[in-house]
């Protein structure tokens, strides 16, 4: 089952919740980084 190894495995509701929170946090972090890049360009 090599294909199944491509997916992150989470074993509990808490781990799934933490993973989704990480997705939301990653999006916000990425947005901040992009805005910083934009601000640098604008200067």
């Amino acid at each position: 089952m090599m294909e199944q190894n491509k997916f992150k495995r989470y074993d509990s509701p808490e781990q799934y919740a933490e993973a989704f929170q990480q997705m939301i946090d990653a999006r916000e972090k990425w947005r901040e980084q992009v805005r910083e890049q934009e601000a640098q360009i604008a200067q």
């Binding site: 190894n5 799934y16 919740a17 990480q22 992009v34 890049q37």
Partner: protein, 168 residues
């Protein structure tokens, strides 16, 4: 995956400037500045999945501009023309317009995309008392299509304490 502004600008109605490896900016006719692109996923899959985002830093809502959807189409067509890739998204909920954003993905999918070649699945997820819309896009011929879709649906079902299936 490689995304180049030089290649995208051959078809994009707005001139794209490359901010990062998969990130671009453009300015609309209404002088609204957008950033658009992808960042690599490390939470759902080990490899081959990217989160899509489009953002305007001033949160301005100009009048309807079809060129923005044309820009998105050019970028996504290039994205999906390369090796088998998976696109993920979570709609921004900070201004409570996440449902409208999810509808835009569906509008784009059915009006602009080669939807007969692709799968779009999205669902609403109530997580920590906030309603999110999360989705996945991939080509039908992705070698792991069925497995990825099944894992993604399973992932979303396990996330919230309160799971609210999307109304069809």
């Amino acid at each position: 995956m490689t995304l180049s502004a030089d290649i995208l600008n051959q078809r994009s109605p707005y001139k794209l400037s490359q901010l990062g490896e998969f990130t671009f900016r453009f300015v609309t006719d209404q002088d609204i500045h957008y950033t658009v692109g992808f960042y690599k996923d490390t939470i759902f899959m080990d490899d081959g999945a990217y989160h899509f985002f489009i953002d305007n830093s001033e949160h301005e809502h100009g009048s309807y501009d079809p060129k923005i959807l044309d820009v998105v189409t050019v970028i996504l067509e290039e994205f999906f023309s390369q090796e088998p890739t998976v696109m993920l998204y979570i709609c921004d909920s900070t201004d409570h317009r996440q449902a409208a954003r999810d509808r835009l993905y569906h509008l784009w999918f059915y009006e602009y995309a080669r939807s007969h070649e692709m799968t779009l699945y999205s669902d609403s997820v109530t997580f920590k008392q906030v309603n999110y819309y999360a989705g996945i896009l991939m080509r039908h011929d992705h070698p792991l299509h069925d497995m990825i879709l099944s894992y993604y649906q399973d992932f979303l079902k396990h996330v919230p304490q309160l799971y609210v299936p999307r109304e069809k």
